[in-house]
Symmetry: C2
Subunit: 355 residues, 2 copies
């Protein structure tokens, strides 16, 4: 049905080896023959079968990207960045969401391996990948979470100090009673952020207990619902700190739903993407995570591994230090004369202006 290299060879009156050489611009082919082959190709509307080529070459020009949920805005921007770079290198992306379900993650990973993708970028569900039997030779980079077993590269953010910084930011605006909304503690990132929070609590001698921590779920809706529910029963804290993009979005949504005004009624800070939260009014103070940068580094790291074509000897860990971008979500003026903790003053390097 679809023409093969054989048909082209027959039409051009040459051997299939010669056609292959024309297509791949390899070896010696005289100009006269080359043109005849090219003509036959366009006449037959021949498209080389990448499957056959992949089988022969053991390269698929395919990158698998396995994430929590492509409809998560932050995640999607990472994918978009990877896609941009992959396009340049003529790679295509197989993208899968695991929707925070271990079973889906396992299945998707299995499919990617069977499809012999050249590399994998993974934002895992949190369980380690040991039982998934990913071979060491597979180029693979973790994103936003560390590899527990330290077998593979990862690109992550500095979480602990940044997290402490956000607490101190709230503190510096005079707030004392907080609610912390975080994600699943299976993720190394979330655990680190909590460590930072507890450190700050201890340093600042805050009166905060376990009741002020809320694991709100994995979807925007469930988070918003949890927050609404919490606020309804526990009343308003002075400040909310949402430890990740989704938690922050869910929190804002909940406040919106409940007509709670920021910063008049409550202060909020969080980790997130400035393009999303910077344009809000009032703009939200965030530890800025740039998904484009994450995608770029992830792609570059992966690409290098693919090119190297040998097992990972030394897994690399890229740590991006987020800057705290001041918004107006904590009230306009920090308490004057308040000691700004050292760590905080380092983090605040940049202020976001909405055009």
């Amino acid at each position: 049905m679809t023409p093969t290299i054989k048909d082209v060879a027959a039409a051009a009156g040459v051997s299939i080896g010669t056609v292959s050489k024309v297509i791949n611009k390899s070896g010696f082919v005289s100009e006269r023959i080359r043109e005849r082959v090219l003509l036959a190709i366009s006449l037959l509307n021949y498209k080389p079968n990448a499957i056959a080529r992949s089988l022969k070459q053991s390269k698929t020009k395919l990158i698998g990207i396995l994430v929590d949920d492509i409809s998560n805005l932050y995640t999607m921007k990472i994918i978009k960045a990877v896609e941009n770079f992959a396009y340049e290198m003529e790679y295509n992306l197989i993208s899968c969401s695991h929707n925070n379900q271990a079973e889906q993650e396992k299945k998707a990973l299995q499919w990617l391996l069977e499809k012999r993708v050249d590399g994998i970028i993974i934002m895992p569900i949190g369980s380690d990948l040991d039982d998934l039997n990913v071979p060491n030779i597979m180029p693979l980079v973790f994103v936003e979470t560390k590899d527990k077993n330290e077998r593979f590269d990862s690109v992550i953010h500095e979480n602990m100090h940044t997290s402490a910084g956000l607490v101190e930011h709230l503190y510096s605006h005079g707030h004392r009673k907080f609610l912390f909304i975080h994600g699943s503690l299976r993720h190394s990132a979330e655990k680190e952020k909590l460590v930072g929070i507890r450190q700050a609590i201890s340093n600042l001698k805050l009166d905060i207990d376990e009741q002020n921590f809320l694991d709100a779920g994995t979807t925007l809706d469930s988070i918003a619902a949890s927050v609404r529910n919490y606020l309804k029963h526990e009343g308003l804290p002075q400040g909310i700190y949402a430890t990740n993009h989704l938690a922050l979005a869910g929190t804002i949504r909940a406040l919106w739903d409940m007509d709670i005004r920021v910063p008049d009624d409550i202060a909020i800070v969080g980790f997130g993407d400035i393009d999303t939260y910077g344009i809000l009014k009032p703009s939200v103070t965030v530890a800025k995570q740039d998904p484009y940068e994450v995608g770029k580094i992830a792609y570059e790291t992966l690409f290098e591994r693919i090119e190297m074509d040998k097992p990972i000897s030394e897994p690399k860990e890229f740590v991006i230090s987020p800057k705290i971008i001041l918004g107006a979500s904590c009230g306009c003026h920090p308490i004057v004369n308040h000691r700004v903790p050292e760590v905080l003053s380092h983090l605040i390097n940049e202020t976001f202006h909405s055009e």
Copy 2:
């Protein structure tokens, strides 16, 4: 390096044909042998090579989805829907953005064809696909735009009457001077919407000329910039009608930037996704486009074509009639006693409540 079926066969002391039968649960294999083979598979951590299988079977279990931009919220939701259904059927998605560039679209499509995907879902840039030489046998469905050449299936919205309905909605709230923000007229959908607008203008005897139409671009930022620029120079109309999701988002962004209040200063309506615009305050009156539904129909149509495995004889065209969901973005009360045009009363079947 990676174990092959041969290694498994050797380890289990059987032929590769037998191993294949075990993997595919086909033919007769005695229980004793089956267990031996299964053991060898897990011992070797063998993963069948989908490439080799694809070559043999001429099926890849891969669906290509070529869209304007995966980071477009509306588009992304379509992808998400397709992904959900594809997962059930054990298909993977190769997703590509063409970013509204003809060259990228062509290249991506070429890659998908070479990779022998089992089917393609495409939201084209608007140029017709004639010169892309997609073979008729390829299962392919257009989304949000018609196939000019009527070779392939498509799932689209009813645009003309719905569009007229939105104009009439603005009219019924007492507004007379409008700005129409639309996308590229290469898209059949956009053209149809403009036809509807002109019909309504003529029916309602509105005094509106070409200056009130704005082709604002293809990215959120460019649209927002165009709108800001227009409003700065031309002043405020009474109502803005943005003909698609992106135009609506850009418009809202621009109004936000300029501190123009809705509906106090201006009324807005548009085509869009209720999940996005329904939660805004004030909620925006939209002709509701449900990306999940679009994705579902697109996938089902495609899947049927893939299963049928024969050339398209009768291309189908699925037309979804959007309902106009009333928000508060045009002012609360339509002018009483105003004749509600027939078409409008049909469209308004549903009202959106935010929980």
